[in-house]
Amino acid sequence: MGWVCEMVEELNVIIAGVGGQGILFTSRVIGEAALRKGIRYIQSEVHGLSQRYGSIHTEIRLGEKVMSPLIMEGTLDLMMALEPLEALRRVRYMCKKTVVVMNDHVIPPVISYLEKMEVPDLQEIIYLLRKVGVKKIYLVSATKLAMKAGDPVVANSVLLGAAAKVGVLPFTKEELMSSLSDLSPERFREINLRAFDLGYENVSEI
């Protein structure tokens, strides 16, 4: 179709979390970065009812060879999770090449209290992800850092900063920051960029 394309064959990314955590916004930032760099991308998301504080994720596919908007099981390159249980819920997409970047703030759903379910804590989630055999797991205190930056809603930008540091995405820190800056509503621009930096500086492999 005449795009000037960077050489990316196929890169599959999922951003998962709880509805309301700003997953759609972060996905748009990555899509915008791809657009600016001439990397072909397809992104699939869900809106409406399914979004209200339920489990949600977006699927982002970058590269010349992708056609389907949905990622095949066992082919995920990068899992960005704003909530650890939501990473665990999607292990069917993971494989030996998957890198997980995860917020450490667990939010058990209310139903788990009502039904007295046993909810795995962060350590157990990490143990299960390891058992599945993912390549690497990175943690970032996205919610805590976002609150430190001034508003828990920017946890998504902390996570994006962390993902930028990890390096699976085919973008430089500056490229992601400039698309984050341009897509941010005016009153959130500064805090989003601050959050991004905090994520970039405070992510660590475990």
Binding site: S55, I107, E115
Partner: protein, 607 residues
């Protein structure tokens, strides 16, 4: 825009809403007329009238919205159009945000409305443009059928030039009785419609650019439509197989001749489509004529599921199995065992949601009473979930009051209908008229959160502004309902749990009809306003000294910000909106505002 559309009207519904949101954002700049109508039928009629005035018009709706508009559409194909008119039906296989996964392609066939099915974001634009031109050429409305995975896909799209549009047209009757449909006139127009469809089949469907053939030299053929084409192409690539492909961009009218040629020499035909068998049914009929020994792989053969949406993995697996290929699909069974450790997280009412308070009061008042609680379409439908378990029925727009009419006749149980403000305007009004007229025994609770919330906050007739932000006459639900003849009308702020419970108790003891308007704006709007005015959202907290872990806040209220540590309840400050609605729920007054925090009820925020 590139088709120079003049008039657009719609009712919001996932996954079609974003089209309207996008048009609303540029309507003023480009001089396009756009509004959110009271329902899909009204929206369609606005678009039809624009077309009959010679303008180009568009309406879009979710799949179940087509049911509402169907009455108008089925006769519209007899009358035909003047300016190009396009109807977008956004199907929702997997019922992500819907009550069913009905397949709009059947409507094309039933209403004799030609249909295009884009497969990619690029085609989603190009086909609409094409549909406008074809609509004008053949003087018929054109249906664009999309599915969630196309509707909610982002990708790169090459843009064309934006065409100028016109502000006004003129209604002209091209020929006598053109727009009158009855008896012999209708029959004449039906015949004319059949001829048009046959011409469209020959000139468009059989042509080169909507139903395309790819690949050659194989005895295996794949036919796919919509987003399934994208899955199929990638599946073929990943499997490394050589097959013939027919991309079905127009399955109604069906390209019988082209399809006959396609399947004539095949051994195997794989049909990839969702969620119903539409192409497959046609394929079976055609194959019987031209290639009776053709093996058809699809839903009926069991290679693909007949419910739910398709995915890349599913299409690869189906194709590999059908062709006896050894393709290693990841073992999702073990993976699913691991992921089952994550507790389910279904959609739930947001923190601060006024519907939670209404549900809480209703649950308390009813106790264990065996009432018939009827839900409707909107966020409050989630009151069927725990901890409320209130609504036993949730069907289609406006059904709550309609069903309530029937239950008040058929049972002696207390009958309560829950309906949102937007849903009330959309389809609740006729049912309430019926209840008033017959003085039916029921309590109708209109959960008035001042917006169409679930689809992302679109205005409705009860709001004082339009889709494009111009001032509008807001219909006062209280006056309206009184005007309909309801005598017992109450307006209550749902956060005022005590008052809400008192009113509910009173209404449930009545013999006749009463209406409670539970009025408080959607909490997401209140939060947005606080943030915009540079105010801070300050979370509530639980005093650990006072909390006795009775768990009433969790078992009766269940806000997602509440956290049970096993010994105490805590509030997650990253989730809490600081509304304070839960404070009055705690019997030990352990839920308290943090310094600098607000109490929305006391401070009059959100009403």
């Amino acid at each position: 825009m590139e088709a120079g559309v003049d008039v657009v009207s719609a009712y919001p519904g996932t996954p079609s809403t974003e089209i309207g949101e996008a048009i609303a954002s540029i309507a003023e700049k480009l001089g396009i007329y756009f509004d959110w109508a009271a329902n899909e039928k009204v929206a369609t009629e606005i678009a039809v009238a624009a077309s009959w005035s010679g303008l180009r018009s568009l309406t879009m709706m979710k799949h179940v919205g087509v049911n509402v508009a169907a009455d108008t559409l089925f006769t519209l194909t007899y009358s035909g159009v003047r300016g190009g008119m396009v109807v977008v039906a956004a199907d929702d296989p997997q019922a992500h945000s819907s009550q069913n996964e009905q397949d709009s392609r059947h409507y094309a066939l039933a209403a004799e409305m030609p249909m295009l099915e884009p497969s990619t974001p690029q085609e989603a634009k190009d086909f609409v443009k094409r549909a406008f031109d074809l609509s004008e050429e053949f003087r018929l409305p054109f249906l664009i059928r999309s599915t969630t995975r196309l509707s909610h896909q982002r990708g790169m799209v090459l843009l064309g030039e934006v065409l100028p549009n016109r502000k006004k047209g003129r209604f002209v009757e091209d020929e006598p009785y053109r727009y009158i449909q009855v008896g012999r006139i209708a029959i004449r127009h039906h015949k004319e419609l059949n001829d048009k469809i046959e011409r469209i089949r020959r000139e468009v469907s059989e042509g080169e650019d909507v139903n395309m053939l790819e690949g050659e030299g194989s005895s295996v053929g794949v036919v796919a439509s919509g987003v399934c084409y994208a899955h199929a192409v990638e599946a073929i690539r990943k499997l490394g197989i050589k097959v013939k492909v027919m991309k079905m961009g127009m399955s109604y009218p069906f390209p019988e001749e082209k399809f006959s040629e396609f399947v004539r020499d095949l051994d195997t035909l794989i049909v990839v489509e969702e969620p119903d068998s539409f192409v497959e049914l046609h394929a079976r009929a055609v194959a019987k004529e031209v290639n009776p020994s053709l093996r058809i792989v699809g839903k009926k053969s069991g290679h693909f599921p007949s419910v739910g949406e398709y995915s890349l993995g599913l299409v690869i697996k189906g194709m590999a199995t059908a062709l006896g290929l050894n393709y290693k699909v990841p073992d999702t069974e073990i993976m699913d065992k691991v992921s089952s450790r994550a507790p389910p997280r279904n959609p739930t009412l947001c923190p601060g949601c006024p519907h939670r308070s209404t549900g809480y009061a209703l649950k308390r008042v009813l106790g264990g009473k065996d009432a018939v609680i009827l839900g409707d379409i909107g966020c409050y439908a989630l009151l069927f979930e725990k901890p409320f378990s209130l609504a036993k029925v949730s069907h289609a727009m406006g059904c709550s009051i309609g069903f309530a009419n029937g239950f008040s006749i058929s049972t002696d149980q207390p009958v309560v209908a829950l309906i949102g403000d937007s849903t009330f305007f959309h389809a609740g009004v006729p049912a309430l008229l019926d209840a008033v007229h017959h003085n039916r025994r029921m309590v109708v609770i209109i959960l008035d959160n001042r917006i169409t919330a679930m689809t992302g906050h679109q205005p409705h007739p009860g709001v004082s502004y339009t889709a494009t932000g111009t001032p509008a006459k807001a219909i006062d639900i209280e006056k309206f309902v009184r005007g309909m003849g309801v005598e017992d009308v109450y307006v209550v702020d749902p956060y005022d749990h005590e008052k809400m419970e008192a009113v509910l108790r009173e209404c449930l003891n009545k013999e006749g009809l009463s209406v409670i308007i539970a009025r408080r704006e959607c909490a997401l709007l209140t939060v947005r306003r606080v943030r915009r005015s540079k105010g801070r959202i300050v979370s509530y907290r639980v005093d650990p000294e006072k909390c006795r872990h009775c768990r009433v806040c969790i078992t009766m209220f269940g806000c997602p910000a509440l956290k049970d540590t096993g010994e105490k309840v805590e509030i997650d400050p990253s989730i809490c909106f600081g509304c304070g609605a839960c404070a009055s729920v705690c019997p030990f007054e352990a839920i308290l505002p943090t310094e600098g925090g607000l109490n929305w009820l006391r401070d009059g925020l959100g009403v």
